[in-house]
Amino acid sequence: MIKFFLMVNKQGQTRLSKYYEQVDIGKRPSLEADVVKGCLTRKKEQCSFVEYKDFKLVYRQYAALFIVVGISDTENELSIYELIHNFVEVLDKYFSRVSELDIMFNLDKVHVILDEMIQNGHIVETNKNRILAPLLALDKMAEAH
């Protein structure tokens, strides 16, 4: 299962965090800093999967942003690696080439998108149209008011 989903920039600033397993809010910043450190020390030609404590991290870099997903041992690393990319493609579709600032200024909407894709640590939707449908409907309703 997926334990957490993070978007952290190279300076270690968290731009999005979603936890699917209970982690004390006080412990989160140090976990996130640790996790990003682990990814920053990796070189481009190295594996995108890192062992971390008693579970694993799958990470992928997009410009200055790292997307890091914590997974349990039984998860298929490459499928999560591509899930991350699917997520970015969905963001690209919604924001027309997404940027870090887009994410910051629309944190609630990015969460809504992620909510459609992952629930309870499992992948529940990967069809881009279906992922975006609720958010687009919300946008339409908001415009009408």
């Binding site: 499928s79 080439r97 008011h145």
Partner: protein, 446 residues
Amino acid sequence: MSDVVEKTLSALPSLLSLDSQPGAGKLSSTSKLGNLIRGITELTSKHEEEKLIIKELASIKEQVASPNTTMRQMKEAMVRAIYCEMLGYQAPFSYIHAVKLAQQGSVLEKRVGYLAVSLFLNESDEFLLLLVNTVLKDLQSTSLMEVCMALTAVSQVFPRDMIPSVLPLVEEKLTHPKEIIRRKAVLALYKFYLIAPNQVQHIHSKFRKALCDKDPGVMTASLHIYLQLVKESPESYKDLTESFVTILRQVLAGKLPMDFNYHSVPAPWLQIQLLRILAHLGKEDQSTSEMMYDVLEESLRRAEMNHNITYAILYECVKSIYTVFPKAELLEKAAKCIGNFVQSPKINLKYLGLKALTYVVTQDANLALPHQMTIIECLDHSDIIIKRATLDLLFRITNAQNVAVIVEKMLAFLRLCTDEYCTVDLVGKVAELAEKYPFIKAKPGS
């Protein structure tokens, strides 16, 4: 491959203006949220962050307590609170208002209220009980959006003891004309199953209906429940093997609508899910396995493209082939596949190849033989993750002849270990080997 564009900070003013790009936020230049975000981008130290957020928390606290705050302002306050919590600073005074926002807000505000609740609260929180009434009301709403939101919220965080009060309404949604509602209802029931399996015992027949739903999304949602059920008691679900095989066959044949494709591959994550379910069903059961050999072979054959996602499918396929009752020709094809992974110059594939090999050598240690050279190379690989994966593999193919060398390599690696989990794991393995082969002498100097 898309790039996340790096917009410079000079783009901030346009993002903060009232007429912004499609999809981007519409924040006024005087908005508190806009100011917070600008403040966050300008931070240069942890100390500054603390100052900024503490000030922000005080401002939010004041705003949520004020009777003059509109729902619109409350929504913005919740997003600000979400930001603060994301950075590690708790805002417990906002929790009750998140619930209220979900209750009283208009549709967009309601969504943010539900979002905030899902982020702030966990199962044991008392405030969660207050959400139940809102959920009940929204589940009966004529607005599809509100029903969707309620179902999503229920799937994320819901008090176990209150399940009986919402269960009938959620069950009702299983036959809703709209697929999104049926799908979300199934996922809500999955959540209930995870936290209180006894409460949903009586509706297993409804899960079967979901599995046969004409909409692929609803069917896919039911697979989450089925994977759990099949893992726990495969014997009770052998009769569904044919259904799962048929579904996989149809997916492979391209019967799903185009938008279920990911880079031209039909519903890859669905394929992976089905392969896992079939693996559980076919384990140690020859007759059931025989029902799936064809589709497993087809899966293996179809995923020949050069894309990460097809490799992910292949990996899962190989694992399934080695889990179900063995069939020689299939095992051979799978072994060839593993070989391609291990020999691949792509490092992620090499890693998966090593993992796959580790999984299959428990059944047949000889499978590692053709890859000896590669394994030895991997032992000295510059990537510590590859090294470790290789050691894991070696641990499983230890015998009296090679144990001394393998233990030596493990001890050498132990010196590189920086975290206790790695150390504990390796020490455990070395101890196990020492117990298993007590009379082998390690080479001097190790």
